[in-house]
């Protein structure tokens, strides 16, 4: 394998979202380049000159999987710029909204994108032939997440109901109660998912990560909290740009995020779990401990187990919210007309999502900045691959490539579907 090159280029995604290049020199990895196509940069320019009220719906189009994350970060940042304080009931509804998205997104990734790697199938379609019941359960679970999102968002895909100050329309208690039986089933299915993922085989591979996630004094994080890490970071989210930097790298049109003076870091389920295990509800903690999953989890392949635990959390949290919900006096509070700048971070399924907006006194967006989780993990993925690929020198080319793609999918990046259809060129 001396001098071997692993080169992976996208085929199915015509716009070419991601590609992977690994250069081996003997048993050493000489170079790793992961290129990720990054639509948020276009949206930052697209938002300039638009009224802030359009930002939630425009940013929701950035991602078909996590539109709520984009809406929530946009809304919280704009509310911060305008000094808006939302009703506690609205806050609860936003947590429920996020529960729906996490159920959809984590189910999709655990069962349909990541599990085929562990079970030796090229995709979920092949997997369904041998594991029909598993896939049918996943589809039902995902559909329950869709139901929550549809009720609160007004429609199934690219929801439109979330607004600065609240929602355009809020549900009744009865509407939420109608979800309970489904979510109770989903909670049981999620507990089974934890057990199921624990039965998969994981390579012995651990990394010394700096984990970065939100942390809230009372709850597992969705929309609020300070930004913390396992190496002493503890800041208000407004100070994000003082501690994190983006660097241009020649091989990618996406920017590499780093913590100033320290380098790459990891966001997403592993970071949340390791930094907030004590904030998980007991049902989720117990589910994790039953399968011997406890912080710190440093094996990125075990992220599939952590996502399953977060499914348990999302279902339990959804039931809690529905039990406590009283409709707010008004669907949304009125926004003052003033200039201002606001920042927000929320926990998208695949990690922290940073938004910053500067508004003029007419409510028009002067500048927008969006840093998605996949961009933040990009350098960390390369660091993983640098170590992991070195262990694959003795593997046949096709298996080594698959293993590298699986390592990328640990992060549930926005290139997941592309990496399922990659072609490999070998240079010796």
């Amino acid at each position: 394998m001396t001098g071997r090159t692993i080169r992976v280029e996208t085929l199915a995604r015509v716009e070419g979202e991601g590609s992977l290049y690994i250069k081996m020199a003997g048993d050493r990895v000489a170079d790793v380049k992961l290129k990720i196509y990054e639509p948020p940069r276009f949206f930052e320019a697209f938002l300039r000159g638009r009224h802030y009220s359009e930002a939630p719906d425009i940013t929701a189009r950035i991602c078909g999987i996590c539109p709520i994350a984009y809406q929530m970060s946009a809304i919280h940042a704009i509310e911060r710029a305008l000094g808006i304080r939302i009703d506690p009931a609205t806050r609860l509804l936003r947590r429920l909204f996020y529960c729906g998205e996490w159920i959809e997104s984590h189910t999709l990734h655990v069962y349909m994108l990541h599990a085929p790697d562990f079970l030796g199938f090229p995709d979920v379609i092949a997997m369904a032939g041998a594991h029909r019941g598993v896939v049918e359960k996943a589809l039902r679970l995902k559909k329950i997440g869709n139901r929550i999102v549809t009720l609160l968002g007004g429609r199934e895909i690219h929801p439109v109901s979330a607004a600065v100050g609240g929602f355009y329309k809020t549900p009744t208690k009865r509407q939420l109660r109608e979800l309970v039986a489904d979510i109770e089933w989903a909670l049981q299915a999620s507990l089974e998912t934890v057990q199921w993922t624990a039965g998969l085989d994981f390579p012995a591979f651990e990394q010394d990560y700096e984990f970065v996630a939100l942390r809230h004094p009372d709850e597992y994080p969705f929309n609020e909290g300070r930004l913390v890490s396992n190496r002493g970071l503890d800041i208000d989210v407004a100070a994000y740009e003082d501690h994190f930097a983006e660097h241009h790298v020649k091989h990618s049109n996406a920017l590499h995020s780093v913590i100033e003076d320290r380098g790459s870091y990891l966001v997403g389920p592993l970071a949340r779990f390791n930094l907030n295990f004590d904030k998980l509800p007991s049902v989720a903690q117990e589910a994790a401990l039953q399968v011997k999953l406890k912080p710190p989890v440093r094996n990125p392949f075990r992220s599939i187990m952590v996502r399953a635990v977060e499914l348990v959390f999302a279902c339990a949290e959804a039931l809690r919210v529905i039990g406590e919900y009283e409709p707010p006096p008004t669907p949304r509070v009125e926004a003052p007309q003033r200039a201002g700048t606001g920042q927000a971070i929320t926990e998208a399924p695949r990690g922290i999502l940073y938004h910053r907006y500067a508004l003029d006194d007419q409510g028009l967006i002067v500048t927008a900045k969006i840093v998605p989780p996949t961009s933040q993990n990009q350098k960390r993925i390369e660091d993983d691959l640098r170590d992991y690929a070195a262990r694959l020198v003795a593997w046949p080319q096709d298996e080594a490539t698959w293993k590298c793609e699986q390592a990328i999918r640990n992060y549930d990046p926005c290139i997941s579907c592309a990496t399922h259809f990659l072609k490999l060129d070998v240079e010796r």
């Binding site: 995604r13 015509v14 949206f43 999987i65 994108l113 369904a128 559909k143």
Partner: protein
């Protein structure tokens, strides 16, 4: 009868399927007993949008190397090489249909139309030939459905 249009409206020709469905709505297709849906993202949610005894038409952008604006038609699920999979991460509608096939819930009648695209960059509008193809296809679908419609 259900008609589903797929694609991202912000990514040029990728929105071709959405253009067809939007035009069909303007042409009053739903008054003929047809339900329409658009799918700009991950598609497994659509598996519950039809029953196995339904008739379904899917319209999506494709890249096969044919001239831009070419309209392709398949009875049943297209072969793998024809699938654009131009959705965001997750499964595109063609993959969702293949999954439905494995799970035994493919609609009894399935027609898939693909409009050949070329420009998919975010922020770019659809090419004129793609827009024209979407208009022609919408008219053709409506005419066919109306001819078979019994009030």
């Amino acid at each position: 009868m259900h008609i589903i249009g797929c694609g991202n409206p912000e990514c040029g020709d990728d929105g071709a399927g959405l253009l067809v469905v939007e035009r069909l709505r303007e042409l009053g297709i739903e008054a003929l007993g047809v339900t329409t849906r658009t799918c700009p993202g991950e598609a497994t949610g659509l598996l519950s949008a039809w029953r196995s005894d339904d008739a379904l038409i899917v319209v999506d952008a494709v890249v096969t190397g044919a001239p831009v604006g070419t309209v392709h038609r398949w009875d049943g699920i297209p072969p793998a090489a024809s699938s654009p999979s131009a959705s965001t991460h997750g499964l595109g509608v063609i993959q969702a249909l293949r999954l439905a096939h494995v799970l035994g819930c493919v609609p009894r009648s399935l027609e898939v139309y693909g409009i050949e695209g070329k420009r998919f960059e975010p922020g770019s509008p659809p090419l004129p030939k793609v827009k024209a193809a979407a208009e022609d296809l919408a008219q053709q679908i409506r005419t066919t459905i109306q001819a078979n419609h019994t009030p």
